[in-house]
Every structure is written in structure tokens, then in C-alpha cells.
């Protein structure tokens, strides 16, 4: 993956980062993404539909995610739903963002302004 195409997308907006994280383990539809982000953040971040789809549109355009045609069994599915999958670029960008945040945290710790994990 070309470094330039990754670094040009950094830093990620928190919403984008959370959506990418929610798609790392499985393909999800919009509402499932909202629920997963809420679950991961213990309800601290509750994406609205507008914010979600605005971000999804941008992420589709920059190739971080794609719309997948793999759908669950018909009895589990709602035909209005669209499912999204993280792309290798999306994964690489998420990793790069995580690394960036890690470095930031390291710096903060050195300055004594970040809480130490137990």
C-alpha cells in the first residue's frame, strides 16, 4: 500500500475511525454500525443517521470501505439495507491512525499529561 495514499487521509475524523473499527471484524449495515460504535464506546458516541451516511459517502469515495453484495440469509435480511466492508486501504489507514494516536499518547505520557493504564 502506497504510504502517500494513507498519510494523505490522516488524521482521521473520530467518526470515520470508529466506523472503520466497527467494520474490522465483519461487514455491517448502517444501523448495525451505529449500534456497534455505541457498544464499543459504551454509549458515549451515538452516531446519527445523517452523520453516519455523510461519513459513509465520503469513505466510499476515498476507497476506505466498499459496499458488499454478500448479504445474510433472506430471513435475516432487510432488502433496504446496504452492507459495507472495510478495504485493505481502509484497514491500513485505520492502523496508521491507531499508530498516530499511540505515538501521541506516548508523547503525552512523557509529558505526564496522560493517565497510566493499569
Amino acid at each position: 500500500m502506497a504510504d502517500d495514499s494513507i498519510t494523505s487521509l490522516l488524521p482521521l475524523q473520530p467518526t470515520t475511525f470508529h466506523i472503520l473499527l466497527s467494520l474490522t471484524d465483519e461487514d455491517r449495515h448502517g444501523y448495525a454500525i451505529i449500534l456497534e460504535v455505541a457498544r464499543r464506546t459504551q454509549g458515549e458516541l451515538k452516531l446519527s443517521a445523517g452523520t453516519l451516511y455523510r461519513s459513509i459517502q465520503r469513505m466510499l469515495e476515498s476507497g476506505l470501505i466498499i459496499e458488499t453484495r454478500n448479504r445474510p440469509a433472506p430471513e435475516m435480511d432487510d432488502e433496504r439495507r446496504r452492507y459495507y466492508r472495510i478495504t485493505p486501504l481502509g484497514r491500513a489507514v485505520a492502523e496508521a491512525e491507531a499508530g498516530r494516536l499511540r505515538d501521541l499518547l506516548k508523547m503525552a505520557r512523557l509529558c505526564g499529561v496522560a493517565p497510566r493504564t493499569t
Binding site: 448502517g30 445523517g50 455523510r54
Partner: protein, 870 residues
């Protein structure tokens, strides 16, 4: 099963989603609705659901705005890149918008400022001018006696004020200077409803006979002569050697009655001032009472005039009163001048817009392949249309900004067209209204002339566009472009004809013989202050000292003093009594009176036809003499010997001692009364002091500007406190007569030049494009035996057809416009054959020039290359 409330909330939400752009809604609308439905199911209770809906409302509003902004930003980015990729096209298009809109913003701002914008007084529509109406004079100033009677009788006005212009010498504030001001009745400022910036305006007591002198300063004079001294109120200043107490300063935007007015002093009428009903010296201005119409005021003043005629049958015979809205003081000529310019600016806009549309249409054809590829790669037509429109918008905005800059730069140049008669500032301000007009015009232009080409481009783009490339253009497109070129040529012809007619009119006016010499004449004003110069002998001493020394200057052939230079003052009109005929002033029984010193006629080159000029011996103790003009003789003693005859004029009997040629005393384009010249030594002490000679005229064989320092010294020696003003040459005075015409003509010529060049370029662009489209056809024609000359003729004919199609309606429209502007044409006929044929010839020459290159290109078509390419 959903409840009715849930259904309603869902419907509201779906409705709300329409705030998003169509593409976004089509893509994600269903999913967003289903998410909202799920959320709705999870919230029970009215309050919770309302909270959810309210949250959704704000969220949708915010996100929809963000999506719109992102799309607009993307479109603008792509459009900018696309426009920067074709710098030639972009610059041309921006220039077209700049020219078209710039001309209109400048001219319409000026016209709006002069003709439409409310005057700078509260409720300006209630301000009315009141005039006396005499036979032959529709607007004559009021006499103080009639003014007093009108005030006593009229019920239509809350107050009726009066004023007249005057000038005084301001002494003691640096160099003595002559400043223009106005004498006003004490109630003028309350009629205008403008309070003083500092201090106060006049009270009734200030206008009483014998009241101490008071003065209100203009903001400009306060700044210039008193350095904006905040404690100026209460201080004494010397005006014409008399003490005046400054009681107030007016705001900087107060100009009344003229822009040059720098101070106001109150009339302090005494009973004697009300004796002479022929002493027409006051301009009346009143404020209508609320609810009183102009017509009601007119009727009432007509009745008052009729009563005054009965009461004073001798003095007021034929005297009527008229009421005119202050805003309508503008002359028909000024109005027509500005309307003509507005029409011309609109023609330029039509031509610029037609060129712009043509340019955009050509570009849309050239981009068919690109647009088709984008369509086939999945772009929607809606997106393409949006991007094309945003390109037009960008061009429009850049052009609009340029146009505003053009207008800001042009307005001071056009400010000479703002008539002095209106109490407004000289240069129209560029305000929010101007900017809104520029923006509105830009948007209208962009929408009107950008949408059609964009729609055309989107319609043409597609699979067929991909297949045929750029080699063909739709017939509809060609027809639209031809129509635009025809419109351009037609509008250019209108401008060509109007410019031609106005140039001919200007030449005609300029070639009018004023009746006096203009070259080598310098004039300046030394307006003597009263009562210091009340005595004729004191004034005579001053004139003698100045004239004797001035005549000694090298190069000076002669010099003299006169009441007022020709063409600078329309007043001084007196009735003439010959052989006991009636002394009622009518147009056919009045003459202009000027007091002069010996040497005036030789200085101004006015020919003496018979008898002699005024001489040093025509003093106050001798019988009063007069030199009259030829028209005076024709009127009163046709075919008779006038020398030695007597007539009564300005309360005295005068003997005719000489006859001189007529001069255009009122101006080049106005008929003048016969002229009577009286000896300055026979202007009785303290009599009509206003007529005492003020203007010094000097004829010199050397450049007049070199004389000025020496003349200043001479005047300073004669009276160190005497200010000098109005230094100008007679050529300037005469040129001033045609100044408005000259400016209008120059602006029109610029507009016409731009228009004809644009029309020529438009024609060239269209034909060049057509030729490139028809290369294949030309190749086949050549292969089948047609000669290059045939192709040349074919293209030429196409150009000529377009020109004729534009020329004929253009000439017809030009004739209609010329008829409307007939009063500006100074006798040149609206159907002037020379002008019309010159305009037609110029249009055809432009056509030929525009056609030549495309025709030559058609001739150079290589049939073998074309066949090979196929």
C-alpha cells in the same frame, strides 16, 4: 402495527429528508428512514418521541447543509480546475461579463442616483418648488412681495421657504476668498427638516429686519477654512466686510440648493423689499402638508395667483404660480441623456451576453466527448449539469467582481452628468444597492446565458457524443448561435446609429457661432463686496486701476469688466418700454441687461454694427446711454435708424448710442433675449448692486495662463482684501456648454466601439466554428469540382446573410431610439441618411472582417487530407 403518531412522525421525517440533495437522498434516504423507524420503535411516550424527532430535525438540517456544502465545494473545485485548463476561454468569458455588467452597473447606478433615489431629506416626496409663471417663462423666481402673499394665503404647505444663491468674500481666514453660499428665509432648514450637525439653524428672530448677522456653515467650509474647530459656534466671521456670528454647521451630506453652497445667511427683509413685484429673486420651496397632493397644491396656488392678478393688475398681469416636485427639477435633457446611456449600456449587455452564450455553446460542443466519457463512467446528467452551471457561476462571479471594479472606477468619470440642480453629492456612492444590483445582474446573466448551453451540453452528451466526437454540431445549436450573432449585430447597429447622431449633434452645437471671440480670452471674477463698494465712483476707481494696469501687461490687447460673462448667467432680464408701450415683462418684450466698462466689445470681439461703444465719458452725470444688439433693433425699430432713439429700461430712460452683433448670452443651444449693455459708470449708487460688473475679461496674444500671477498682483494692489475666483478661459466657458453632451458622446462611443468589436468577434467565432464543422463537406465539394472561390463565396454569403438579418431590425430599432432622443439631437434629423448609411457600412465592414479568416480557411481545405481522415 404502527400507531398514527408514528406514521405522522415518519412522514415528517421523510419530508425532512428532502433537505438533502437529490443524489444523497436517492442513495441513503430509505436506509435513513428505516433507522429512524427503528429508533422510533425504541422510544415510547409522546415526550420521548418528540425529543427524538426534534433531535432528528436539527441533525438533518445540519447534515443536509454539510452535504450541500461538500458537493458545492467539490463542484467549484472541479470547475476551477476545468476553467484554469482553458485560460483563453476563461479570460474571454470573464472579460465579457466584466464589460457587459460593468457598463450597466456604472450607468444604472448613476441613473438611479440622479433620477430615482430619494433626495437626502426626510419625506422628500413632499418637497415642492414654487415658481412664478410668466408669458414665455415657465419658471421664474418669486418676488419677495408675491412670496409673502403666497405664504399668507396658502394652506397646502406646512411651511414655504425661499432662497437664492449668493457669494461673499470671506476675509480673515488666510487668503481672502470668494465663497458661494445662499441667502435663505429663516424657515428653510425646517422645511427641509435637516437639523444642524453642531449649533442650530436659523430662528425667526434671525430673519427679522435689523437682526444681527448670523451664518450657518457647510461642513466643507467648516473643515477647510476653520479646521473643523469644535468651538466655532458663537464666533464671529467677516463676510463682505460685515460681521456674522456662526450659529451652526450643517452635516457633511447636506447640499442645498447647490453642491457648491458653503454657507447660509438669513434674509432680513425690510418693508422696502416688498415693493417691487418684478424683483424676481427668490426660489420657493415648500413642504406639502400630510395628505395634500401636488394637484391640490397646484389648484390652490392657481387660485392665489388669480387673486393676486386681480389685486395687482399692473404688476402681476400674466403672472401665474406653478408647483413642481423637487425631484422633477431635473431637466428633460438630463433625463434623456441618462436614459439614452442606460439604453446603450443595455445594448452592450445584450451583445456581451450573446457573445458569452455563444462562447459557452461552442465550449459545450467542444466538450461533448469529455462529457460523454464521464456519463459512460457513471456520472449522472444531474451532476454534469451542476458542474457546468457552477462553471458559469464562477465565471459570472469573477466577471461580476471585475464589473464592480469597473463601475467604481467609471463613476467619478461619469459624475459630470449629475446635474447641479439637484441637492445631492457629485459622485454617486457605491453602496449596498449598487453591489446588490451587480450581484443580481451577474446571477441573472449567468442563469440566463449559462443554463441553455449547459442543458444543451448534457442533452448532447451520451453514447452518440462518444461515437461522433466533436465533428458535428446540432442544427438547433447552429440556429441558436446564429440568432445570438444576429442579435449582437442588431444591437451594435443601434449603438452605431445613436453614436453617429449624437456626434453630429455635438458637432452642430460646437460649430454654433457664439457671437463673441473665445480664443485668447482669460476671465476671472472679482465680486466687489457691499456696502464697501456701494458707491459707483469707488467701484469705478477699482475698475480703472485694474484695467489700466492689466492693459499694460505684455501681450494684452484689451481688457474690460462686465456684470457676468456670456453663458454663465441667465438672469438680469428686464422689460423694455419703447414709445410708451406696456412695461409688462413677456418673452417678446424683455432684454438682458449687463453693465460694462469701455473696451468690452473689442475685448470679446463683438462687432459694432453702427454707432459707438460705451466710453469713459458715459458717466452718471450724463444722459444714460445704451448699446443694444441687432435683435433688439429688429424687434423695436425694424428698418429704422436706431441710433439716438430712446427706451425705458431698468427704471431709467436710455439713449441708443450703438448697435452690436448678437451673442448667445444664455448658451449655445438656447435662444437668448436681445442684449442691452449699459455703462458701468451709470449704475446709480447703491442701486441694483448685484449688477455691478464682476467678471474681468482680458484678450491676450500670449498664453493666458502666463498672465495670471501678474493679474493677481494688480488686483491685490487695487484692493488687498479682494478675492479672486472663477479663473477660466472663454474656451472653457463655451466648452462647458457642451460638457454633458461630450461626456455622453464619449461614453457612447466607447460602448459602440466595444459593441462592434464584440459583434465582429462573435461573427468570426461562429463562422470559424461552422467552417471547422463543415471541413468534410468542403472536401467533398472540392473533390466534386467546386473551386476555392466557390467556397470563399459560400462562407462570405453566410456572413453577409447574418449581417443583413441583424442590420435591418437594428436600423429600425435605431430609428425608434433616435426619435425618442430627438430633443438631444440639436436639429439633426433622427433619420439622418449619412449617419444611417455610415452605420450600415461600418456594420458590413465588421462583417467582412469577421468573415475573412473563416472564408480563407475554407479555401485552404485539402480534399485529399479530408478523404484520408475519413
Amino acid at each position: 402495527m404502527r400507531s398514527r403518531t408514528e406514521d405522522d412522525l415518519m412522514n415528517f421525517y421523510r419530508l425532512l429528508l428532502h433537505l438533502y440533495p437529490y443524489s444523497f437522498r436517492a442513495e441513503y434516504g430509505d436506509e435513513m428512514s428505516s433507522i429512524f423507524a427503528l429508533e422510533l420503535g425504541r422510544h415510547s411516550g409522546m415526550a420521548a418521541r418528540c425529543r427524538l424527532w426534534l433531535g432528528a430535525f436539527f441533525e438533518v438540517c445540519f447534515n443536509a447543509a454539510m452535504v450541500h456544502w461538500e458537493i458545492a465545494r467539490r463542484d467549484l473545485f472541479h470547475s476551477t480546475r476545468s476553467l484554469l485548463g482553458s485560460p483563453g476561454f476563461t479570460l474571454t468569458a470573464i472579460l465579457l461579463v466584466t464589460i457587459g455588467i460593468g457598463a450597466n452597473v456604472a450607468v444604472f447606478t448613476l441613473a438611479n442616483f440622479v433620477m430615482v433615489k430619494p433626495l437626502p431629506f426626510p419625506e422628500p416626496e413632499r418637497l415642492m418648488k414654487v415658481w412664478e409663471k410668466h408669458a414665455g417663462y415657465s419658471r421664474m423666481e418669486l418676488s419677495p412681495a408675491n412670496y409673502r402673499d403666497v405664504i399668507a394665503s396658502s394652506q397646502s404647505f406646512t411651511a414655504l421657504a425661499a432662497y437664492n444663491g449668493n457669494s461673499m468674500s470671506l476675509i480673515g481666514q488666510g487668503e481672502p476668498q470668494r465663497i458661494d453660499g445662499a441667502s435663505v428665509t429663516a424657515n428653510l432648514f425646517s422645511v427641509l427638516q435637516r437639523p444642524a450637525l453642531i449649533g442650530r439653524s436659523f430662528s425667526k428672530a434671525d430673519g427679522l429686519a435689523g437682526a444681527p448677522g448670523t451664518v450657518v456653515l457647510s461642513y466643507a467650509l467648516w473643515q477647510a477654512a476653520f479646521g473643523g474647530d469644535p468651538s466655532i459656534v458663537g464666533k464671529s466671521v467677516s463676510l463682505d466686510d460685515q460681521p456674522y456670528t456662526v450659529i451652526g454647521v450643517m452635516p457633511h451630506d447636506f447640499h442645498f440648493p447647490a453642491r457648491e453652497t458653503q454657507f447660509w445667511t438669513p434674509f432680513r427683509f425690510e418693508e422696502g423689499d416688498y415693493q417691487d413685484r418684478d424683483d424676481n429673486m427668490l426660489e420657493g420651496i415648500g413642504r406639502l402638508k400630510p395628505g395634500v397632493s401636488l394637484e391640490q397644491a397646484r389648484s390652490e396656488l392657481s387660485l392665489i395667483a388669480a387673486r393676486l392678478r386681480r389685486q395687482y393688475p399692473k404688476e402681476n398681469e400674466n403672472v401665474d404660480l406653478s408647483v413642481i416636485a423637487l425631484r422633477d427639477e431635473l431637466t428633460t435633457e438630463s433625463r434623456l441623456l441618462l436614459t439614452g446611456l442606460c439604453g446603450a449600456a443595455l445594448c452592450v449587455l445584450v451583445i456581451a451576453c450573446a457573445n458569452l452564450a455563444n462562447l459557452l455553446l461552442a465550449r459545450s460542443l467542444a466538450r461533448r466527448r469529455e462529457l460523454s466519457i464521464r456519463l459512460s463512467l457513471g456520472a449522472s446528467r444531474r451532476n454534469l449539469l451542476r458542474q457546468l452551471l457552477s462553471e458559469s457561476l464562477l465565471l459570472g462571479l469573477a466577471g461580476g467582481a471585475g464589473a464592480t471594479a469597473v463601475a467604481i472606477a467609471a463613476l467619478p468619470l461619469l459624475s459630470r452628468l449629475v446635474p447641479n440642480a439637484l441637492p445631492i453629492q457629485q459622485v454617486p456612492p457605491v453602496d449596498a444597492q449598487t453591489l446588490l444590483f451587480a450581484l443580481g445582474l451577474t446571477l441573472i446573466t449567468v442563469i440566463a446565458f449559462g443554463v441553455a448551453p449547459a442543458l444543451q451540453a448534457c442533452r448532447d452528451a451520451g453514447f452518440s457524443g462518444l461515437r461522433v466526437g466533436t465533428r458535428t454540431g446540432g442544427t438547433g445549436n447552429h440556429r441558436a448561435r446564429s440568432a445570438l450573432v444576429i442579435a449582437e449585430l442588431g444591437a451594435s447597429v443601434v449603438l452605431l446609429v445613436l453614436s453617429g447622431l449624437l456626434i453630429r449633434a455635438l458637432w452642430r452645437v460646437q460649430s454654433t457661432d457664439p457671437g463673441f471671440r473665445t480664443s485668447g480670452i482669460l476671465s476671472l471674477r472679482t465680486e466687489l463686496p457691499f456696502p464697501k463698494y456701494n458707491k459707483t465712483s469707488t467701484r469705478d476707481q477699482f475698475y480703472s486701476k485694474v484695467l489700466t494696469d492689466v492693459r499694460r501687461l505684455p501681450g494684452v490687447t484689451d481688457a474690460a469688466y462686465i456684470t457676468a460673462l456670456p453663458m454663465t448667467w441667465g438672469g438680469g432680464i428686464w422689460p423694455v418700454l419703447v414709445d410708451g408701450r406696456s412695461q409688462i415683462r413677456t418673452e417678446s418684450n424683455s432684454a438682458s441687461m449687463r453693465f460694462v466698462t469701455p473696451g468690452l466689445f473689442s475685448t470679446l470681439g463683438i462687432p459694432i454694427k453702427s454707432g459707438r461703444a460705451v466710453s469713459e465719458t458715459d458717466t452718471g452725470d450724463r444722459p444714460y446711454v445704451a448699446v443694444v444688439s441687432e435683435s433688439f433693433v429688429r424687434r423695436y425699430w425694424p428698418n429704422e435708424q436706431p441710433i439716438g432713439r430712446h427706451f425705458n429700461f431698468a427704471f431709467h430712460d436710455h439713449e441708443v448710442i450703438g448697435v452690436v452683433g448678437d451673442i448667445r448670452a444664455r448658451g449655445l443651444e438656447r435662444t437668448s433675449e436681445p442684449q442691452v449693455y449699459l455703462s458701468s459708470k451709470q449704475d446709480p449708487d447703491g442701486w441694483v448692486t448685484y449688477y455691478a460688473p464682476k467678471d474681468l475679461v482680458i484678450h491676450s496674444t500670449q498664453p493666458t495662463e502666463q498672465l495670471l500671477p501678474a493679474i493677481r498682483e494688480i488686483i491685490h494692489k487695487a484692493d488687498p482684501e479682494q478675492p479672486i475666483s472663477n479663473v477660466r478661459t472663454m474656451e472653457d466657458v463655451v466648452a462647458g456648454e457642451t460638457e454633458s453632451r461630450t461626456i455622453q458622446m464619449r461614453v457612447l462611443v466607447v460602448f459602440t466601439g466595444v459593441a462592434i468589436v464584440l459583434a465582429g468577434l462573435g461573427l468570426y467565432g461562429l463562422l470559424a466554428f461552422m467552417v471547422s464543422m463543415r471541413q468534410q463537406e468542403f472536401g467533398i465539394r472540392l473533390a466534386l469540382g467546386a473551386g476555392p472561390g466557390d467556397l470563399f463565396k459560400m462562407v462570405l454569403l453566410q456572413g453577409v446573410k447574418l449581417a443583413v438579418a441583424g442590420l435591418l431590425p437594428g436600423l429600425a430599432l435605431a430609428y425608434i431610439a433616435a426619435r425618442l432622443l430627438e430633443s438631444l439631437l440639436a436639429g439633426v434629423r433622427p433619420a439622418d441618411a449619412l449617419t444611417f448609411s455610415t452605420a450600415a457600412a461600418l456594420c458590413l465592414i465588421t462583417t467582412l472582417l469577421g468573415t475573412l479568416l473563416p472564408a480563407l480557411r475554407a479555401v485552404r481545405t485539402d480534399p485529399t487530407a479530408i478523404m484520408r481522415a475519413e
